[in-house]
């Protein structure tokens, strides 16, 4: 995996456009989902994707092959998302409400395999609760929760991406998890 990326970076540095397109293909979905969860807005998430790859392209010569490529690109994507989140903070909750939310994008309409409508409803309720709870978190918790549960990065990887000690990441995951547990409990009662 890492070998492939290092090779692609080398080729791209030599001006091979195909190699760079390959890098884009490998990571565009992951960066998009990350940004989409962070920003709850498709348009903005796509902007982040474009900006991320533009930065990757411009700074390709500064990429250190000793570092995992995924860590490097996640760092760029995460920082861009956090920047946007901070900038719009005053209108944040309003944005989240009118932005294109999951329901509007239709995932709740995807039929399950052979679930009853009640189960289906409960699952989609839970999902909504989780997404809303994560959306409402302050950026520093939100980022960690998204990297952990959406991107499924390890605590060590998150610590590399955010350039923070792993103990800090752990504390944030623990608090985030407790927060979610309470939200889910209140949903059940």
């Amino acid at each position: 995996m890492d070998n492939l990326e290092t090779r692609l970076v080398k080729l791209a540095l030599k001006g091979d456009q195909r190699a760079f397109a390959e890098i884009v293909d490998l990571y565009k979905d992951r960066i998009f989902h990350l940004a989409y969860r962070m920003l709850s807005n498709r348009h903005e998430a796509e902007d982040v994707v474009q900006e991320t790859f533009l930065r990757v392209y411009r700074n390709l010569d500064r990429y250190d092959p000793g570092q995992k490529f995924s860590t490097w690109i996640y760092r760029i994507g995460t920082n861009l998302s956090i920047d946007r989140l901070r900038k719009r903070k005053p209108t944040y909750s309003l944005d989240a409400e009118i932005g294109d939310q999951d329901g509007a994008d239709g995932y709740a309409l995807i039929p399950g395999d052979n679930r009853t409508p009640e189960t289906e409803y409960m699952i989609s309720e839970t999902r909504t609760t989780i997404h809303e709870a994560i959306d409402g978190l302050p950026p520093k918790y939100k980022t960690v929760m998204i990297l952990r549960y959406l991107q499924e990065l390890s605590l060590q990887e998150i610590s590399d991406v955010l350039d923070m000690p792993v103990t800090t990441i752990k504390t944030r995951v623990h608090r985030g998890r407790e927060f979610l547990r309470k939200k889910l409990e209140s949903q059940q009662h």
Partner: protein, 206 residues
Amino acid sequence: MECKQAVSLMHDYLDGDLLSEQANELKSHLEACPDCRAAFRRLEETEMMLFAANRKSESVAVSEDMTDRIMSFLPQPKKHSPAWSWVRRHPALTAAAAFILIMLGTSIGFWNADTQLVVRGSDLNRVQVEGNTVIVPEGTIVSGDLTVERGELKIYGDVEGNVTVIDGSAYQASTAHVAGQVKDINQAFDWVWYKLSNIVSEVAYR
């Protein structure tokens, strides 16, 4: 062990880094404390649902043309060989120099100077470049001439001038329309001839 410490161990357990000694302590606390047992079960559920909810919701996908979009707005790397830019800056001098080069039999070296794809034209922001392939997409009108060296040219749209492919190949789809001539140059000799005549006409127009 206090309940507070037990909860902290539960989180470590979920993070996958609980030492076996701590695991035993936690286990004996859970056996003795129903509150913590319930809390543990809920935390495990939460952890599971967090992964599940995020995994299943990703039916929201990035636009299909994202890769193309990104590739099209990247700053184009400089691909003209130094020799060719010199030729462009000094057409008259080059014409004379090129004749001498041919006389000296070094034209092959000159021809080999470019090893990568080169695209020339006056309306290049309308064409797409993917690796070694230059594409004129369907519905796109490229004004003026289009020249591709060392690459594949695929035309689906319109080119309002001449199309020249040097040491490469040209493909025209049924939707393609080229107003001028389509020239395919693959020989070293043709190449020199082409550059010379190009220079001569450039000189003539100045």
